[in-house]
């Protein structure tokens, strides 16, 4: 076992906290940021007008941007708790364990971000009568992608961070 330096331990602590809050808040903000970006970049709406329209439709029936954000945030909040419990409770003495866990969690988080981002972009760029159904299915898909992303991250971790031979 290799002892963890205080610097490594401190970095892991920051990483855990950032990962936890980043995913809990980022999951909520991601769909809203994409909505605003699509309005500004794709539909060429000035940012101030796009922002006003966005806040106007946060709780409007038929739009409910708030609930869309909340639905997307659910799996990210679950993932944030997983980061806290899985990485935060990792033994600090052996850096290999938290590092491998961090890579597993990074794989899951990245996969979720890409999936959620792509889905929201698709719904906004190619509007369809049934498009809103994607918002209902997305949390389930994100939750299902979590173990796959985690597994992939762990495989990469095994390759990049091999166990030191005795």
């Amino acid at each position: 076992m290799i002892a963890t330096t205080p610097e490594t331990s401190s970095r892991l602590r920051v990483l855990t906290r950032l990962g936890f809050w980043g995913h809990a808040i980022g999951g909520l903000l991601l769909p809203w940021a994409i909505m605003l970006a699509v309005e500004v970049v794709v539909h060429q709406v000035p940012l101030a007008r796009a922002w006003r329209s966005f806040t106007l439709h946060l709780f409007a029936p038929g739009y409910n941007f708030f609930l869309i954000g909340l639905l997307t945030a659910v799996p990210f909040v679950i993932f944030a708790v997983l980061i806290l419990l899985h990485l935060g409770a990792a033994p600090a003495q052996d850096p290999l364990i938290p590092r491998r866990r961090a890579l597993g969690l990074a794989g899951a988080g990245l996969g979720m971000l890409v999936l959620a981002g792509w889905t929201h972009l698709e719904v906004l760029l190619h509007p369809d009568a049934q498009g809103a159904l994607a918002y209902l299915y997305l949390p389930v898909i994100l939750l299902a992608s979590m173990p796959i992303g985690y597994g992939s991250g762990r495989v990469i971790a095994r390759i990049l961070l091999p166990k030191a031979s005795a």
Binding site: S9, L12, A24, L56, A60
Partner: protein, 348 residues
Amino acid sequence: MTGNASSPTVLTPREITLHLLGLVLFLGLLGLWYWLSTGARAVPTLIEMLQDDDPSTRIVAAEQLGQVGPAAQAALPQLLAQATGDGSQHANTTAAAALKSIDLKAARQVMTHFMPRLQDHDAQQRRTACAVLGSLGPVAKPAVPTLLPLAHDSDELVRRNALIALASIGIPSPPVMTALLEGLRDSSALVRQTAATQFAFTVPLTQPAIAALTPLLNDPDRSIATLARSALDKARPDDAAQLESLGMMVQHSAARDYALHQLAQFGPAAGDALLPVLPLLQDDRPLVRYLAAEALGAMGPAAKQALPLLQRQRQDPDPVVREAVADAIAGIEAAMVPAESSDKAARP
């Protein structure tokens, strides 16, 4: 947060607990934000939004007030002003649609305001009047006789708006159906398409409608042919499964208005859905009580069982509901007389 460098884990159990508590607090704040921004609590802000210079703000505010329902009574003066005086037709229609969910009397005031405009020389005024009356839905039932001639207006867009309005009002069903059937034979493809759309998505399918829609399957305009196909493929009022499904829908608040409106248009065929409709005569929302009375009235003798309840509802606090209840009682009793006399005649 105080970190402990000598902790055996990356974060101490105390830190983990504090982060989890922080998350719970964050979620609680989000819940509080939602609670404060929806329901009756949002009414003062929404009333302010009705005064905004931007029509889209006024439209969204009206839509949200409609969602709040009778608890948004405080917004009635502003909504009435928007429904009748706003320069934007969309702002007029959304305010009118909101009013029907909040106060039936106010909705009828909007109807009274726009009915004379149906005869205006300016086609745009007639178009707007049709659109606003349509947005009032079945509450604008007394406007149907005045709307019917507009289905033959010289202006194509007036005819289109009149057909949409008649289908949205839907009751009484026979004259509305006649106007829509004539619309299917209109010289304008736009009007024919509008009529077909109403059969596909809004009004129930009757035998004469089936007969009129079948030739449209070969209409040279593909969109009309597709709409005719959609209309002919949908469930019919005499379909037991359709009635059963509407009976279930009236028990769910999200689909209740739609299901009751459909049953009111089905007429006597809706008799099998009587039981789920009965308790709705005492619903909190005047619109639901109104639609329930209309549906029961349309059922005719099949709604005989509802008469004692309807009699009690003669004291309904809403005058529009009282009127619908009185009409329903009269309709059921009038329909029962010939039914009873034919029963007696059949007895040996």
